[in-house]
């Protein structure tokens, strides 16, 4: 037995029809929509909070910059131990039982934070700068243990540093060449040179800001700015926007999970939320085939309002409905 072909003529046989001008409808919709967006754009403009640069970070919060840069050398920042796709660390790897897609995908944008954010830029800056060159040689020639001792002492000293105008005064201590390295890095960053050095890739053109953004994200400065603007994940940030503008409100359900347990306390919250949303989206996609979900329109009879004219005009002549949709 062959499947019967669907036929509009048969489906609509006996259905009363009325004139409907589709072309007029889309034309009017285009005109009205243009007027609405022009009015909104003229009256309200659009979000435009200036981006943070390494330069502005080093100038506005030099202590945090020095702390973060030292952390990159120590290997204590988020990006230095992140894991795939940036490196082979495990600090930000999320798994669920045997499910480990982050590990399966592997390292595709290699980032060695200590080298990329600190040592390589200083290597470029050391040309014609013998003091910095000697400090770099001394640091890189030291044992890992000696480096950590210097870095620990420096990070403690930075905790007591003071900002005097354009200068940052870090209390003196036996932190070897680290003071010279960090002082120079701060100077380069304040000049704007570090923004260029981190995006340089050995070729002329570049559009990849992975290294700069990871470095910015390791500091507290950007996080504090985001917290002030209610953009943190714990503040429903993904659906918020800078300024007094609506954000991606359509992501409300996605960000809801981050506010409630177990998601709000889970180390693998991102993976859990993505899987949860994937499951819910699949349910919505398959709604036509899922009893219960497809019957909700029957239980919440909004349809009576949608077709109230039809029900009124057909009156008692309407046929009985099937028991299910």
């Amino acid at each position: 037995m062959t499947r019967r072909k669907w036929d509009q003529a048969e489906y609509f046989r006996g259905v009363p029809t009325a004139p409907y001008d589709l072309v007029k409808e889309i034309t009017v919709a285009l005109g009205v929509m243009l007027a609405v967006v022009l009015i909104l754009a003229t009256l309200l403009s659009s979000p435009d909070v200036a981006p943070v640069t390494l330069r502005s970070w080093a100038r506005q919060d030099p202590i945090d910059f020095l702390t973060t840069a030292t952390g990159e050398l120590q290997g204590t920042t988020i990006s230095s131990s992140y894991g795939p796709p940036y490196n082979n660390g495990s600090g930000s790897v999320q798994t669920l039982g045997p499910l480990a897609p982050q590990l399966w995908a592997g390292v595709h944008q290699p980032v060695d934070a200590a080298v990329v954010d600190v040592l390589a830029p200083l290597g470029v800056a050391s040309g014609g700068h013998p003091v910095l060159e000697r400090a770099l040689v001394r640091f890189e020639g030291a044992t890992n243990q000696q480096q950590q001792v210097w870095l620990d002492r420096y990070i403690r000293a930075v905790g007591h540093a003071r900002v005097l105008g354009a200068r940052v005064v870090v209390p003196g201590a036996a932190y070897g060449p680290v003071g010279t390295l960090m002082g120079t890095l701060l100077t380069v960053a304040r000049s704007g040179g570090l923004d260029a050095l981190l995006t340089a890739n050995g070729r002329f053109y570049q559009t990849d800001y992975t290294r700069t953004l990871l470095f910015l994200g390791d500091g507290n400065y950007v996080n504090e700015l985001a917290a002030q603007r209610h953009l943190l994940g714990t503040q429903w940030g993904v659906m918020n926007e800078t300024g007094r503008y609506p954000g991606q409100a359509w992501l409300w359900l996605y960000t809801l999970w981050y506010q409630i347990p177990p998601y709000s306390t889970a180390a693998n919250a991102d993976l859990l939320v993505v899987l949860t949303m994937g499951f819910l989206t699949t349910l919505l996609l398959l709604t036509p085939f899922l009893p219960g979900l497809r019957d909700i329109p029957r239980w919440i009879p909004v349809y009576k309002l949608i077709w109230r004219e039809h029900y009124r005009f057909t009156g008692a002549a309407e046929p009985e409905r099937p028991d299910r949709i």
């Binding site: 509009q8 489906y11 609509f12 046989r13 259905v15 029809t17 009325a18 004139p19 409907y20 589709l22 889309i26 285009l30 009205v32 929509m33 609405v36 967006v37 754009a41 403009s45 659009s46 979000p47 435009d48 909070v49 200036a50 796709p85 930000s92 897609p101 995908a105 595709h108 944008q109 559009t207 800001y209 953004l213 950007v222 209610h230 953009l231 994940g233 800078t242 300024g243 007094r244 609506p246 409100a249 506010q259 991102d270 939320v273 993505v274 919505l284 996609l285 036509p288 497809r294 329109p297 919440i300 349809y303 309002l305 949608i306 077709w307 004219e309 029900y311 005009f313 309407e318 409905r321």
Partner: protein, 274 residues
């Protein structure tokens, strides 16, 4: 407008005033769409009172809607096969019908068209932004204005797409062979979310930086981050201005063709006596 807005707190719920206003506007539009009569009520009432005119028979098919003569043996070709298929499955009288079933009498049927109208302005403003380059809207008042048109068009696009989705859900628009229409429509919504997301990433302002830094953890956790680097402006820009708009547009074309091919689903019939 760039100062932080007021926020409302209730238990774990925290919402900005602009987002609350937007959601209330959506709910209000949906409610108004349900109760406000759609123009043309007089025609629809008459259609119910007068003898029935079958949708497929009135007006009579035009010559170009006629299926071509079956090819003679030896003249069969892929081109003629596709031609016959298109004429059979997508006749102009269905694609651009000037009559609809008389039960098409609610603003719920208009939300889909308004969504497409918003998309037209999203694409038009986006094309202007692309023509002048990715820096333009940051350094020129004219560019910023076009960027504002793009921003608000996107908001309108999502507002009316969600209203259309709500309307189709409560009308159970997937009935009687229309499950594919529902599913493609939902895929349009999902791809649109990703398209908008890449748009937010390429604004080149603080919002872009923060969204990229936050989103990378979710994207990386799924393994997708290995190939879809939200911190790479060039990759996100290319996807946003080329690939995703093409996918959204093509899917919407498929969705509209599905709607026109099957026609508008009949009303849910009430229980006898209700």
């Amino acid at each position: 407008m760039n100062q932080p807005p007021p926020y409302l707190h209730w238990a774990f719920i925290q919402i900005s005033l602009p987002n609350l206003v937007l959601i209330l506007v959506m709910l209000g539009l949906f409610a108004v769409g349900l109760v406000l009569p759609l123009p043309g009520r007089r025609h629809r009432r008459r259609a119910y009172q007068e003898p029935v005119a079958d949708l497929d028979l009135d007006p009579p098919p035009s010559p170009r809607d006629q299926a071509p003569e079956p090819p003679a043996p030896g003249e069969r070709s892929w081109t003629s096969a596709v031609s016959r298929l298109l004429v059979r499955e997508l006749p102009l009288k269905h694609l651009l019908a000037d009559r609809e079933p008389a039960y098409v009498g609610s603003w719920m049927y208009v939300f889909g068209v308004v969504t497409i109208a918003a998309l037209v302005w999203v694409v038009a403003s986006g094309v202007v932004l692309v023509i002048f380059g990715p820096q333009w809207w940051q350094v020129s008042p004219q560019g910023h204005f076009v960027n504002s048109i793009h921003f608000w068009s996107v908001q309108m696009f999502f507002i009316f797409m969600v209203l259309h989705l709500w309307g189709q859900y409560f009308a159970a628009g997937w009935r009687e062979g229309r499950a594919g229409t529902w599913m493609i429509g939902l895929v349009v919504f999902l791809v649109s979310v990703v398209t908008a997301f890449t748009g937010y990433l390429v604004q080149q302002n603080f919002d872009s930086q923060w969204i990229a830094l936050n989103a990378k953890d979710s994207v990386n956790a799924t393994g997708v981050g290995a190939f879809f680097n939200v911190l790479n402006f060039g990759q996100m820009y290319g996807l946003h201005v080329l690939l995703f708009p093409i996918v959204v547009t093509l899917l919407i074309v498929v969705h509209v063709v599905q709607v026109r091919r099957r026609g508008v689903v009949k009303p849910i019939e009430r229980r006898a006596g209700s």
